[in-house]
């Protein structure tokens, strides 16, 4: 049988630099959704602190750091990104492996906010949207998860099937911002 070669969602599309902004694919490691069982929120958060060094994130927030992050994804749902979830977490939450389900990119540069301002109906300027803040919103016509991971850096997640559209739409916005100088 032929050997199948695993490809990342944005294989052949990224990295891309336009003006001061760079778009690159993020290798986030494993991605698991965590949905705490009823009344188990605190127990899950404690188990996460013990096993992975981060709490279950509050609404619109992310915890942890690069390589091991927990991103709020909706009511009673967060994505654990990086490590495989510790077995102890399964006592308190429904866990689903979604590693191959998401296209994950990093948008970085001085004008990153200006690029997203063209696509996202949210105020993502640093005064309102600081490092560790996250939002479920729209990126052009796609539902997305947007997290500020650095002073001028955002992590953006969309469904894997949308990877090409994501890169296309971001590229157009990056070119538009760069053209204005």
């Amino acid at each position: 049988m032929d050997n199948l070669i695993a490809k990342s969602p944005c294989d052949g599309l990224l990295p891309l630099t336009v003006g001061t902004v760079t778009l690159s694919e993020e290798d986030a490691g494993e991605v698991h959704s965590l949905a705490p069982f009823k009344g188990q929120d605190k127990a899950l958060s404690e188990a996460m602190k013990t096993a992975h060094g981060m709490a279950f994130p509050a609404a619109n927030r992310a915890t942890g750091k690069a390589g091991a992050r927990a991103v709020w994804f909706g009511p009673a749902q967060a994505m654990l990104m990086g490590p495989a979830p510790d077995a102890a977490l399964a006592d308190h939450a429904a866990i689903v492996d979604q590693s191959d389900a998401w296209a994950i990119v990093r948008l970085e540069g001085d004008a990153a906010e200006a690029v997203l301002a063209r696509l996202v109906p949210l105020d993502l300027r640093v005064a309102q949207f600081k490092r560790g803040h996250t939002a479920r919103s729209l990126l052009f016509h796609m539902t997305a998860s947007i997290t500020r991971v650095g002073e001028n850096a955002f992590q953006i997640m969309v469904f894997r099937s949308m990877a090409e559209s994501l890169v296309h739409d971001l590229k157009r916005a990056m070119e538009g911002v760069a053209a204005r100088g």
Binding site: A59, N60, P75, P121, L122, A135, R136, S137, L138, T143
Partner: protein
């Protein structure tokens, strides 16, 4: 139009999907009779004024929200998680 999601805060209307009047939350009992079911399935108020509606935050966190809205002034008077309305 801006709608406040109890989870996400004030968001643009384009993030939301409109379901209709919030009657879905008052589903009659299975044996409530033909008239109650006819009302539930087919009959809707068309108020000029305050109305309660179900909206879905599909371009966001995925929550169902009961929005109280004035159809005359377009004022949004409040929003609440549907899961907490009938809790």
């Amino acid at each position: 139009m801006r709608i406040t999601c109890p989870h996400c805060g004030e968001r643009d209307r384009r993030e939301f999907y409109y379901r209709g009047a919030a009657v879905d939350l008052d589903r009659p009992a299975p044996d409530a009779g033909a008239e109650a079911w006819d009302n539930f399935v087919y009959l809707r108020e068309n108020p000029a004024g305050v109305t309660r509606e179900l909206w879905y935050h599909e371009g966001g966190c995925g929550a169902w929200i009961v929005v109280t809205r004035n159809t005359v002034t377009h004022e949004i008077q409040g929003s609440q998680l549907a899961s907490e309305v009938n809790a």
